[in-house]
C-alpha cells in the first residue's frame, strides 16, 4: 500500500521509495526502506500531511506520498490494498454517514469479513463492492 493510504495516527514501515530526484530527497530525509514513518496530521484542506520520520516532522504532498510504498505493522492493512483473505475490522476512519453506510453492508468494528477479490467483500449481509475512497478508510487486520 502507499504511504497516502496510512491513516492519521498510524505508523508504517517504508518498503520502497520511487527512483526519482524526489525519491532521493526523501531517502536523504530518512524515508529509507525499513524505517518507520508515523502519519501525524493532515493540513486543513487534506493535503499535504505531516509525517514523523527520524525524530522530525516532515510535510509531504499527497502526490508524493502516493509514490512511497509502505506496509502497516501487525498485519494491519486498509481494505483498498488488501489481497483476498479473511480479516477483522479494526477501525472505520470516517464520520457517522460513512460508518452508517458500512454498517448497512455489515461492516462494523470488530466484525470479521472476507475479501473475495480486490475491493469486493463478503459479510454476513452479503457481497458488496466498495469504491477506493471508502475502502481506503477501512482498517483491517489479517486473520
Amino acid at each position: 500500500m502507499s504511504l497516502l493510504e496510512v491513516p492519521v495516527g498510524f505508523s508504517a514501515k517504508v518498503q520502497s521509495v520511487p527512483d526519482t530526484s524526489m525519491g532521493s530527497r526523501l531517502v536523504s530525509l530518512g524515508f529509507i526502506p525499513g524505517t518507520y514513518v508515523k502519519v501525524v496530521r493532515s493540513a486543513p484542506l487534506g493535503d499535504p500531511r505531516v509525517y514523523l520520520v527520524m525524530d522530525k516532522l516532515i510535510t509531504l504532498r499527497n502526490d508524493s506520498a502516493k509514490e512511497v510504498e509502505v506496509v502497516l505493522d501487525n498485519d494491519l492493512t486498509v481494505l483498498s490494498s488488501a489481497p483476498e483473505g479473511t480479516y477483522q475490522v479494526i477501525e472505520l476512519l470516517g464520520g457517522s454517514a460513512f460508518q452508517g453506510r458500512l454498517h448497512r453492508m455489515g461492516v462494523e468494528k470488530g466484525k470479521v469479513l472476507q475479501i473475495v477479490k480486490p475491493m469486493t467483500i463478503k459479510t454476513e449481509r452479503g457481497q458488496f463492492t466498495i469504491g477506493f475512497g471508502m475502502a481506503s478508510r477501512v482498517l483491517l487486520r489479517r486473520l
Binding site: S21, V27, I32
Partner: protein, 642 residues
Amino acid sequence: MALRVALCGNPNVGKTSLFNALTGMRQYVANWAGVTVEVKEGIRNWRGVKMEFIDLPGTYSLSSFSMDEKIARDYLLYKTPDILIVVVDALSMRQGLYLFLEAAELDTKIILAINAVDEARKQGIHIDKQELAKHTGVPVVLTSAVTGEGIIELLDTILKITSFERKNLQFTFDSETEKSIQELQSILQLRESLRGFPLRWLSEKYLEGDPETVKLIESCQVQPGLLREKIAQERYKHIDLIIKEAFKTPGSELTMSEALDHVLTHKYIGIPIFLALMYMTFTVAFEVVQPISELIETLFRILADALGIFLKNQIVSSLITDGIVSGVGSILVFVPNIFVLFLVLGIMEESGYLPRAAFVVDRIMYRLKLSGRSFMSFLLGFGCTVPAIMSTRGISDQRERIITVLSVPFISCSARLPVYLLLASIFFEKNKGLVVFSVYFLSVVIAMMSAVFLNKILFKDEPGFLVLELPRYRMPKLRNLMLYVWHRGKHFLVKAGTVIFLASVVLWTVSYFPVNGDPANSFASHIGRVVSRVLKPLGFDWRISTALVFGIAAKEVIVSALGMFFGFGTELSFTTTLANSFSPVTALALIVFVMAYVPCFATLGTISAEVGKKYLLISIFYSLAIAYLLAYMTKLIGGFIL
C-alpha cells in the same frame, strides 16, 4: 592568516543563533556571485587568533537537491574550510549525525556541536559527551545559543584542534558496500580531472545518486544511485548505535510544540488563524507605520522647499529639490514598511510558524505549481509590491521564487488605487465600486494565470515537490530578530536603493529638459508622443502616454500627471476636460493597463536586487505585453457592451 571555520547543520537546528553568538555583531551577508541564498560571514578574534566564520545554508545531507544544499556542498568541496563545525540539534540527533557522517569523509577537521542542550535537559534527555566523542572520533561540545552555554568552550576547541593532525575518521560500511565504493574509487583515481578531490566521498555520493556528483563524474560504467538506499540504511544503523550508547531519552509525552500544532494547523481553525495573522502582518506593515512613512514624505518635502529658497540657480535648484531629495525620499519612504514587515516575518520564522503557514495553505497554491510559501508574498502584494517581492526570500525553490517575483506585480498595490478611483469616479460614477472591485479581481486572476504561464514557458512544467520540515516552536530572540531585520533592510537600502535613486534622477532629467520645467514640452513628453503611436490602438493620446511614462516612477504619479496635462490652459475643471477627452471604454482600458503595466522603479530595483538583471528585463517586457493585450481586449469587448 585567519582561520576559516564553517558551520553546517540541518535546517532549524539553531545554527544561525549559534553563529550570532560566536561572531556577535561583526557579521555581514556575503555577496556570492550568482547566489541568492543568504550566506553570512563573520569575524571573531579569540585569544589573539583571527577566526573567520561562515554560516552555510541548512542542509539535510550533502547531496545537492536544492539551491541551499548545493551551496553548502560546493563550499565544502571546493573551498574546504580549516575547521568545520557540524551543528546537531540535541532533540533530533539522527539527521544531524547523518550529515556529520557524510562530512567526516571530507578533508577537514570537524567539531561536533550539540546545540539546544538546555531544551534537551528540560525534557530529561541526558547526553554523554565522552561516549559521543569516542564513537565519532571528533571533539564534542554541548552548546546552547540561548543561554550561551558552551560558546567559550567551542572557541577554545577550535584553537586546540588546529594544532593537532587531522584524524582519519572513516565510517566503514559492510563488506559488500565497501567493495563497491572502493571499486569506484579506483576508477576515479585514474581521472586527471578529479585530482585533489576527496575520492571516497565522491564515490559514495555517486553511488547515492547525488545529481551534482553524477554530473561531475560524467560517464562511468557504474550505475549512478546504485546504492542509494543501502548507504543511507547503514549510516542510520550506525547512528542508532551511537544514540543508544550516548543518549538517554525518557518516554515522549505531549510537548508544547504538539499542543501548539494542534491549534495552529487545526482542521477548522488553522486557516482562519493563518488569515488573521496575515491580516495582522498586513495591518502592521502597511497601516500602523503609515504615519511614519507620511512623516518621512513631509520631512523631505519641507527639506526640498527649504533648499529651493536658498538655491537661486533654477536648474540646480530643481535638480536638488525635485531630483535628488525626492529621489532619496522615495527610497526612505519604504524603509518603515520593509523593516516592520521583516520584523513580523522574522518573528514568524524564528518562532517556527512560517513553515506551518505554508503547510496550512499549500493546497490552495498547489494547482498553480507553487507552494503555500508564496501565498504570503501574493497577499502582501495588495499593500506594496516592494516588500512583497522582498518577502520571497526564503522561498527555497528558485523556480518558485522567480515565478512569484514576476507575478506579484500584477496584484494591485495600494498606489494604483488612486488611479482607479479617479478614472472610475469620472467615467463610471454609478458603478464606481463595481469597477474598482473588478480590477482587483482581475489582478488576482492575472497573477494566478501568470504563475501557470511562466511555469510552462520558463520552466517547462518542471514538477516542484514540497518537502518542508516543521521545526519545534521556539521563543524568538531579540538579537536574532534585529540581525534578521537589519540584514534584509540593509540589502534593500544598498541594492534596490541605488537603482531607485538613479532612476529618480534620470526621470527628473527627462521631465525637466529641454524647456526648463515645462512637462508638456519635456523629453518625457517626446517619449510619450512616440509611445502614443504604439498605444494608439488602445485609444491613448500623447497626454495619457506621457502620464504613463511618469507613472513608472510611482503609480500614484499618474494622477498628478493627468491633472497637469488635462488641467492646463482651460477654464473648465480638470475632471470635465478629462471626461470630454476620451470615452469610458478608453478609461476602462487605461485602468486595466495601469493595473498590469511596468512595475514602478522601486519594484524594478527590488526585482533586480533580488533575482538579477535578467529578470528585471523580462519583467518589464512581460508586464508591458500583458498590459497591452488586456487593454486591447478591454477596448474590443468594451466597445460592444458600452
